[in-house]
Amino acid sequence: MAQVVLQQVAKTFHHQPVVKGLDLVVPDGSFTVLVGPSGCGKSTTLRMIAGLESASQGDIWIGGQRVNELPPGKRDVAMVFQNYALYPTMTVFDNIAFGLRNRGIAKKECKRMVEEIAAVVGLSGYLQRMPSQLSGGQRQRVALGRAMVKQPQVFLMDEPLSNLDAKLRNQMRVELSSLHRQLSSTFIYVTHDQVEAMTMGDQIVVMNEGRIMQVASPLDLYHDPANLFVAQFIGSPAMNILPAAEAGKLLGFRPEKAVMLPAAVQSLVPESALVLRGTVVSREVLGSDVLYHVKVPSGSVIVKKDPESLLETAAEVQIAVPVECIYLFDQATGERIPARAEQMPRRFLAGGMS
């Protein structure tokens, strides 16, 4: 267990800045997820913490010790790789035991530890198998076992679930979360999948183009995004963004916060609501919900509804969004305009106001 601190950490590859001066505190025992689109620098950050890449600038601290010059093996971290990186020529037992042997742990003790971990990750019957004889999920467990057996201060995971099928991924997500609760170690987990980030992390670091866009808990990120990037990256489907009535401003609302009715219906729309009129372009029935793609005068939006009263394509609709559910952003900087819409003059809202 240890706190990980990054101070102004930067990485440059061939004069190309990839990570640009990160300041981050990963609390002791937290499950911190680094999330962002491909190429945002999240894996490079993780690799710098592991010691697999050197930081071009800044300091990395693990458990109060500056580790910039320490080799990976001396940082007391364990890493689970995207493709598991198991040793293909060694049995499952040897894969898990390799790190222990290199630490000089006695043969008998080593065997006991490997067997104990194998039981935890459900591999007891597979210790003499080669990695090539295992399924994707089992290989994943070997990689986890190999990391866990070293009892590291920090677990680093680089998209460890991305090679698994959807069902197994969901299962492993739950297992990893419960493993974190059992071990109470610090987990730093990299993913590009915001669903993974939201469901597993207790602290999420959203990154873009080598910079941290926001650090917050999953719900805070969702309900209180700091900027346009986070607002659109977190949440599925993404937040709807439309130009606001006032130049240089954008307004956004979550698809599930909008109420959509056929245009002909005379509804009781509250005075302080944004009302948009439009046409249903297409719909996606997901079972529990239906996503409607609606063309409105200022762009197109997605509205999430329950499937009870299905609206047909080409239907004329009215969409009402309570003002307290509307977010405003600065178009130039992408930064959130802090006050919510109800505190903003009505002129900020889009032309569709009724």
């Binding site: 592991a50 093996g73 364990a78 790789f81 060694m90 390799f98 790190g99």
Partner: protein, 314 residues
């Protein structure tokens, strides 16, 4: 009665259709054979027939001077071959040459590959330099080394002299001639072996080394426990082809030593050549060729039998 009344034309129509179907089935069956036939004819004409004919010739008494006077000799050629003391010396020399060339050639190439498997430009240049002997004709290589190894005017002895070391006899002495041939062979083959090793090294995923670094694996242990086992298919391939080519060494011997001094560098293929071309013993030459085929075949089988178990194919 009804059957008798059945018109003949539709019946023959069914028969014709049935024949057509049979022909189509037959064509379907023969098609794969037709596809592989050109390759099989090529192999039969240029591989299987010469081997079979060589075995046939090994039981004949014949010489290149009197090809029309071929006589059945039974096992006489084999008896003469195994009674020849020179043949055993040749076999021993071939074995020493093969084991040394393969062991030194592969070992040195592995070390070179480990050193050269880096990204900087200079390593690419060195790789090209190391590979260059492979593309030079063996005759040129042999001529070059004859000059380098000349006891009086050669560059190697000049260097030894410059360093204050005693001159070496190189090709002129029975003890040093085989060593000199091994040196030339290793030099000629090292570039190819190194290149194949580098290709093997580059196919090992980087993450495995990273996992080993996180597992605190020291360099030598990573080499022994990860790199070499991961290179085993490459190692196995090089072992087989180097063994076969070393067993068949001819050019360097023909140009540099002619099997001498005192038969010390005479090896199996050169012995076959001598028997057939110099002594006109076609039968013995054929019998020795069959022995060579047997040894190389047996060695290859042994490699596959015992080594392949240790080879890890991904």
């Amino acid at each position: 009665m009804r059957q008798e009344m059945t018109p003949a034309a539709p019946a023959s129509g069914i028969g014709a259709r049935w024949t057509l179907k049979r022909m189509a089935d037959l064509a379907q069956t023969l098609r794969p054979y037709a596809y592989v036939a050109p390759a099989m004819i090529f192999f039969a004409a240029f591989f299987f027939f010469p081997i079979a004919y060589m075995i046939y010739l090994s039981f004949q008494d014949w010489s290149l001077l009197s090809l029309d006077e071929m006589e059945w000799a039974g096992t006489a050629n084999y008896e003469a071959l195994f009674a020849d003391a020179d043949f055993y010396q040749v076999l021993k020399g071939t074995l020493v040459y093969t084991v040394s060339t393969v062991a030194i050639g592969i070992g040195a190439a592995l070390l070179l590959a480990l050193w050269l498997n880096r990204k900087a430009k200079i390593y690419g240049l060195v790789q090209a330099a190391v590979f260059s002997p492979h593309i030079i004709s063996l005759v040129s290589v042999a001529m070059l080394w004859m000059w380098l190894m000349d006891p009086q005017y050669g560059l190697l002895n000049a260097i030894l002299e410059f360093l204050g070391l005693p001159a070496y006899t190189w090709l002129a002495d029975t003890k040093s001639a085989l060593v000199s041939l091994i040196l030339v062979s290793v030099w000629k083959g090292i570039g190819y072996n190194t290149l194949v090793f580098i290709a093997g090294l580059q196919s090992i995923p980087r993450e495995i080394y990273e996992a080993a670094a996180l597992d605190r694996s020291p360099g030598w242990k990573t080499l022994w426990k990860i790199t070499i086992p991961m290179l085993s298919p490459t190692l196995f391939f090089l072992l087989v082809i180097n063994t076969i080519s070393s067993f068949q060494v001819f050019d360097t011997i023909y140009i540099m030593t002619q099997g001498g001094p005192v038969n010390s560098t005479n090896m199996l293929v050169f012995y076959i050549y001598e028997q057939g071309m110099d002594f006109y013993n076609g039968g013995i030459a054929s019998a020795a060729s069959v022995v060579l085929l047997g040894i190389v075949g047996a060695l290859t089988l042994l490699h596959f039998r015992f080594m392949e178990k240790r080879v890890h194919y991904r």
